[in-house]
């Protein structure tokens, strides 16, 4: 589904060149739930923005769903973002001028979907996140957890194959974070591929696989069973 080989990303400013990613390789299979962890500034967000075609990379290769994306033009990249990828951001990123319904509708409109089909999908995905009674609310009138659930509904409405989440629970308290995490697990069970960046080791353990990034490189790819078992061993009272 998502395959990066020896990928690098350099940010150039007048004074310095920062290697945000170097020799970065990862292969996420269809239907996987991968958690990406790592210290601050290690390149997790950079990885996610390149994976989501929000940014180009400097070297190496990236195949998304079997397609080499390095030569695609801006319109083609927009189309892939719209059809194949769902984004969930730490800061929710709902459009403040639009109500819940209109927010979820945004990606569907860019897809040129008919009004009836849009409505059906909006209602379904809002139902899914338990917010179908808040259609007319504006983001400012919702709690953080509710806003993130709207953002998830927006990401889900277009039935993307790949969900990219950058610290989706970073701005939420534990209880709301748990709700969001359960939602992501449900979505994963229904077949979506999910890549989630998180700081929270507890959340990371709930993913199938953990990828640890340090200084722009994948240092340790722990298989979920191994990781979970060791975690369980550590936490087990016996």
């Amino acid at each position: 589904m998502l395959k990066m080989t020896h990928l690098s990303k350099v940010y150039r400013t007048e004074v310095v060149e920062t290697y945000a990613l170097r020799d970065f390789s990862i292969d996420v299979k269809e239907g996987e739930f991968v958690a990406v962890t790592g210290p601050s500034g290690s390149g997790k967000t950079t990885f996610l923005t390149i994976a989501g075609l929000l940014e180009t990379f400097t070297g190496g290769s990236y195949h998304l769903d079997g397609v080499d994306v390095s030569h695609l033009n801006d319109n083609a990249r927009s189309k892939i973002r719209n059809e194949k990828i769902g984004f969930i951001f730490q800061a929710f990123n709902l459009i403040p001028d639009l109500n819940v319904y209109d927010n979820v509708e945004v990606p569907l409109r860019y897809r040129g979907m008919k009004a009836a089909e849009r409505k059906k999908r909006i209602m379904e995905s809002l139902e899914r996140v338990g917010l179908s009674s808040r259609l007319k609310h504006y983001p400012a009138e919702l709690s953080g957890g509710q806003q993130q659930r709207v953002a998830i509904a927006r990401a889900l409405a277009g039935s993307p194959r790949l969900l990219l989440a950058d610290e989706p629970t970073g701005n939420l308290d534990t209880q709301m974070a748990r709700g969001v995490m359960e939602l992501l697990e449900d979505i994963h069970r229904e077949g979506a591929t999910i890549v989630m960046v998180t700081h929270d080791p507890e959340l990371a353990t709930r993913a199938q696989r953990n990828v640890h990034v340090i200084d722009g490189q994948v240092v340790d790819v722990a298989e979920d069973r191994v990781f979970s078992t060791s975690q369980l061993a550590e936490h087990s009272p016996a």
């Binding site: 996610l48 973002r81 951001f89 990123n93 403040p96 001028d97 639009l98």
Partner: protein, 404 residues
Amino acid sequence: MQIQPILAALRRHRLATLLITLQIALACAVLSNASFLISQRISRMHAPSGVDNAQLAEVSVEGFAPDQASNVNARMLAMLRGTAGVSSAALINAVPFGDPAANAGIKLDPSEQGTHGVMHFYVGGPGAFQALGLKVVEGRAPQAGDYQPVADFTPKQAPVVITRALATSLWPQGHPLGKSIWIGSRRFRVIGVVKGLIRPAPFTSSNRPAQGSIFVPGQPGPQLVGRYLIRVATGQMDSVLERVRKAVRQMGPQVVLDEAQTASVESLHSSYFQTDRSMVALLLGVVAALLLVTALGMVGLASFWVSQRTRQIGVRRALGATQGAILRYFQTENLLIVSAGIALGVVMAFALNVLLMQYYEVPRLPLGYLPVGALALWLLGQLAVLSPALRASRVPPVVATRSV
């Protein structure tokens, strides 16, 4: 296709939207009315006079005693006809765009209540009709026996030649020849119709039609003296008038040149429309300033909104908006705002017109001027929003993940 969410977002910015809409409405109202007034003035300036403005001139003298009339006329005509470059000279009471001489309300029947408007009576001596170069379209020009003595501005009765426009308005069914026009008990019989002859001071009021001119043949004498029409060969106007001024100065202290009225019809035309030209310049200035302010307002607001929405533009890009979609968003938004402004502006344009009609002699605003204002503002809006919209379209999608 994006209209509903754009309107939804605008509802969240009511005050700014309302203010810019009002500004556009005001611009639309002023623009429609100003362009109407401007084109009205310009069309007046270009109204055909019916004569060759560049080749005709009036020479006016004063200062002599009434009993000197025949003497002055004889000496002046002799002098004018003898001046190099003058092809003909004749007595006349007024010329187009000069001082009017004889305005009178006319009737088609002495017993009629009210008049058919106030017309100007051009009283001309022998040769004046020919010197004017009027084109007869019906009937005939005045002949030798038609010239009657002038008593109180016009002959007591005389054959006259009228303009085609006047003939049509007085007798819509046609056949003006032989019909009579009355001023009080004075009767004038129509013997000919000319293509056109503008009155001396046209466009002063609606009951004084610009083509409301009646040519009356009159005998030179104490009441037709001192004003002369000359026809001058092409390109010689200035030198001829210079020679004439010099000659009049040599005629003695009883004959004094009226400087203001001694001029070519062309320069009389130019002075006559001086205020209209200033008015046009002023209105153009107002229109330009208003368009500039409106454009700046739209650029300013669009720029502000683009900066304010940078993050959501990035989010939209992340969710699949192409650069073109972002560009169209801001263009459509501007189109909607300008259209609302125009809708309101149309109402305000008519209100302004009604106001102008009450205080000035301004006709009703023709509907055709509304699209002029509307089109200008639509174009202006699209132009104004282009640069901010392009800037918006270049916001990179990565803005969505990098919090500011």
